[in-house]
């Protein structure tokens, strides 16, 4: 490999073992006081790009393979999956090979991990290049549109009413959209793209500050992409995708503030404080769970700094920032976002009750590798998914041992260790049906700790087994397995490869029925009507038609849609909520917030399943109800007369 990709120029080469996990906290990394005499600074020297151009080339080839795989999937051709997985490996493996080497420069490592993050984000963007089609994306895009339309915050959102109360992402999007003239789709992609870059760079710098090693930081950051939600879920246009990188940014800024306050550059502590407080406000106004995580994180750093072996007299604890974050979060929750309690409460309560039920034997357990629809992935996917978990579980003890020996005096390192241990707990919770989603999400938040601890184990292995570079090879293979396992575990098999959304028909391109019906409703009926719809169609009605779309189980919209007969209590509910239209979708998949937006391939049993005509046509039998739009799968009924 090295003969193909070239050697690092001698000007940046350092001793092979110089950075092998050793504690090399250099005070001139990144930020230096200018008051330092110029003659003591290193002289300018030429720095080569190292492997970077070749890594960029392999990444580009990987992206091309992914794009080709997506095109194959959209046109129903074969070999889509091998191209997709091959492309992901072409992006990941060469970067991982370089990051395991001791010879790469700091700059090369930073550029590599940012390149990795942005390339994987490009894979998500190319997955849905025409419109936002992940669960929460249309909901947030609607909020951004409302800010642009009204010039105000806190607009209406009937699908996820809590989201307008956390407008950080949408404000940034609306501002960029207004300045550039881009649509909120284009501006939203750009904002999340910036957030992806922030995530990789912040995490790298945090780990580098904690360990003093850019090698550990590079490996940790690269392993972070093995986090199951990383590829798609955490890259969607959703408030969490911006808030999480900002939390890591704050952690880095706190470490820099501590370093400045230790006497390195005390005159900059106010500047770091200003940055931290600014970012705290940004996080608190962007995402509820991230703001709670931030408060917990800052308090944990303070508490861990008080342990006998971490206590350093010169290092101040960030109590003031923890308190500021706590006050800001509670204030925002109490004044602006009171709905959050009602929104998060049932999810968390359900998870806890289900977990207790599973432990006591009273509740049902969930079978691993089996979806709610009964779908079971192929053997190879199950094997890779399981192997990824086994590798992580096996690596954790070695990594924790290395952490304890080298970095136990660092509070943030201890915090990451706690997160890694917490991740083990989430693995057990994944067999509990109602706790599965919470466990999977919590696992995603705990993954930075997993990545850090596994990276320490990986470096130990790479440096101990040096015959024929077997240690490095094992690390790269293991990391690739963890990454692919994350991709498999973190994405729904139905939409892991893109479905057909926009179809070329010569001089025109046509979109699916949901888009057509929502666009028509805006044009022909106007906006701001109460519309009951399926999960996918409701989101399209909200986004494309600005209707007050109601969907899901609360209070009982899905029961009205899927009942064989319109009952009296259905009518009462429609009246009570001032519903004017009901959009009926024949496709069972329309109830899926991830997969319900696409054309229906007749050969795919998952997509072609249809509801019974009795259910679909029940409103035809109700006097006074008018079917005003019919496009095959979708019919829109005017139920206005039922309100009288």
């Amino acid at each position: 490999m090295s003969s193909v990709l070239g050697r690092a120029p001698r000007t940046i080469a350092v001793g092979r073992r110089a950075l092998a996990g050793a504690r090399l906290l250099r005070e001139d990394d990144g930020v230096r006081p200018t008051r330092e005499p110029a003659e003591e600074l290193p002289q300018a020297m030429p720095i080569g790009l190292g492997w970077l151009p070749w890594l960029a080339l392999s990444t580009a080839v990987g992206l091309a393979l992914i794009s080709l795989g997506y095109a194959q999937s959209r046109t129903g051709a074969d070999h889509a999956a091998p191209l997709f997985y091959g492309g992901l490996l072409a992006v990941f493996v060469p970067i991982m090979v370089r990051l395991t080497a001791a010879t790469a420069s700091r700059g090369e490592r930073i550029a590599s991990v940012v390149l990795l993050g942005l390339a994987l984000y490009a894979a998500k963007v190319l997955h849905d290049p025409f419109a936002f089609a992940f669960a929460d994306e249309p909901v947030h895009q609607h909020n951004a549109n409302e800010i642009l339309r009204t010039g105000e915050l806190f607009g209406f959102n009937t699908v996820l009413p809590v989201t307008p109360r956390y407008p950080g992402l949408e404000v940034a999007t609306a501002a960029l959209s207004a300045l550039t003239g881009l649509s909120t789709f284009g501006a939203g992609l750009a904002v999340v793209g910036v957030a992806r870059g922030l995530l990789m760079l912040s995490f790298f710098l945090v780990v580098e500050r904690v360990t003093g090693s850019s090698r550990i930081a590079g490996l940790t950051t690269a392993l972070y992409v093995g986090n199951p939600p990383y590829l798609f879920f955490s890259a969607q246009y959703s408030y969490e995708s911006l808030a999480l990188p900002l939390v890591l940014f704050i952690l880095w800024a706190v470490l820099m503030w501590q370093r400045a306050a230790r006497g390195w550059a005390p005159h900059t502590t106010w500047a770091w404080s200003a940055v931290i407080l600014t970012m705290i406000v940004a996080v608190v106004t962007t995402h509820h769970m991230s703001s709670y995580a931030l408060v917990g994180l800052l308090f944990a750093v303070c508490l861990l700094s008080g342990l006998p072996w971490t206590r350093r007299t010169a290092t101040p604890r960030p109590w003031r920032f923890a308190l500021a974050a706590g006050v800001a979060t509670v204030t925002w929750l109490g004044i602006i976002a009171r709905d959050t309690v009602g929104y998060l409460g049932p999810v968390l309560t359900g998870a806890v009750e289900s977990a207790i039920g599973a432990v006591t034997g009273a509740g049902a357990t969930r079978q691993l590798f089996r979806g709610t629809t009964g779908y079971q992935p192929p053997f190879l996917e199950r094997l890779v998914g399981l192997a990824a978990v086994i590798i992580v579980v096996l690596a954790l003890p070695f990594g924790l041992r290395a952490l304890w020996r080298r970095f136990r005096q660092e509070p943030v390192a201890l915090l990451l260790a706690c997160a890694a241990l917490g991740y083990l707990g989430t693995l057990a919770a994944r067999v509990v049906p109602a706790a599965w989603e919470t466990a999977a999400r919590a696992g995603g938040h705990l993954w930075p700790g997993v990545a850090f601890v596994v990276a320490l184990a990986a470096i130990g292995l790479a440096d101990r087994v040096r015959i024929l570079a077997l240690g490095r090879i094992a690390v790269v293979v293991g990391a690739a397995t963890v990454f692919m396992g994350g991709v498999i575990a973190g994405t729904s098999p139905t939409v892991r490869l893109p479905q057909t959304y926009r179809v070329d028909v010569g001089s025109q391109a046509i979109d699916p029925e949901g888009v057509a019906s929502a666009s028509w409703s805006r044009e022909a009926l106007g906006s701001n009507f109460g519309v009951v719809a399926e999960e996918a169609g409701g989101r399209e009605m909200l986004l494309l038609a600005r209707q007050r779309a109601y969907l899901g189980p609360r209070p009982a919209w899905v029961r009205i849609l899927h009942a064989p007969k319109l009952e009296d209590w259905h009518v009462a509910l429609l009246r009570q909520w001032n519903i004017r239209y009901v959009a009926v979708d024949r496709r069972v998949i329309a109830d899926d917030e991830l997969a319900g937006y696409f054309f229906r391939p007749a050969g795919d049993p998952e997509f072609s399943k249809a509801r019974s005509p009795r259910v679909v046509r029940k409103l035809d039998r109700v006097p006074g109800v008018q079917r005003i739009w019919h496009s095959g799968d979708v019919a829109i009924y005017d139920v206005g007369r039922l309100r009288r």
Binding site: A122, A178, L182, F599
Partner: protein, 257 residues
């Protein structure tokens, strides 16, 4: 001209030009998109320079501070605009970013040291590196073009057509619109029938639509002073016996004088 003067002046001039450009309505996208994006980046950069004028910040840290602050500026700005009732439109955002950049430039002018900066390492790009980077760019561009191009439908995906019947928006109370839109994968011919109270009132024998086409007609079924139950049925010419789409509505009676 000293370094700090030059940097402050550059910030002021470039931000001013960008602000002027984004405030011009109907500016072509190739000019407006980079101008708007640069204005946001400049504000983040200027703020980071203002805050850390007394230290030398590395490239990675500078990029991180610039990007993070550029994202945070509009979020904090919105929290000021909202209670003050300032509409969050193009002028507000442009002036916010411009204002932050000017403040940053002023701080740079006042606080930045004129001492010579420590000499930084110079990037050395070899010819083969440039070729590899160029190839990477070309391949990435190809991947993006392929990924964002609408492609022909798979063999098992069918197109669809829609029919609708609604009171005409912005029309008279008794006016209704009947329409057909084709999102079929090829040119299709249809027959459309219209029944009033169960009796055939009108038939359109030959409606031929290419994908993306629409056909509409405005009707006044209640013009005779009575309300009617209106039913429209769409048939495909290649399957004329089977109702392809059907809609039904009640047409209100026209007001009589």
């Amino acid at each position: 001209m000293t370094r700090r003067t030059l940097e402050a002046l550059a910030l002021v001039v470039v931000a001013g030009v960008c602000t002027a450009l984004v405030l011009i309505p109907e500016l072509p996208a190739p000019v407006r998109v980079p101008a708007g994006a640069l204005l946001a980046v400049l504000a983040g950069y200027a703020l980071s320079r203002a805050l850390f004028a007394s230290v030398t910040v590395g490239a990675a840290e500078r990029i991180l501070l610039t990007a993070g602050l550029a994202v945070a500026i509009p979020i904090l700005g919105a929290l000021v605009f909202q209670p003050l009732g300032i509409p969050m439109g193009v002028p507000a955002w442009a002036l916010l970013f411009e204002g932050v950049t000017l403040a940053g430039a002023a701080a740079v002018f006042l606080r930045l040291s004129d001492k010579p900066r420590p000499r930084r390492s110079v990037l050395h790009v070899r010819g083969r590196d440039a070729i590899a980077l160029g190839l990477a760019l070309v391949i990435t561009a190809g991947a993006v073009v392929l990924g964002t191009k609408p492609l022909p439908a798979p063999a098992d995906v069918q197109g669809y057509s829609a029919v609708w019947l609604t009171p005409l928006r912005d029309g008279g109370p008794e006016e209704m619109q009947l329409g057909v839109a084709s999102s079929e994968l090829e040119r299709k011919r249809f027959r459309l029938t219209l029944d009033l109270d169960g009796r055939r009132a009108r038939t359109w024998e030959r409606i031929e639509l290419v994908p993306g086409d629409r056909w509409t007609v405005i009707m006044r079924p209640g013009a005779d002073g009575r309300a009617h139950e209106v039913t429209a049925r769409l048939y495909r010419a290649d399957d004329p016996k089977v109702v392809y789409r059907q809609v039904r509505a009640t047409a209100p009676a026209a007001a009589t004088r």
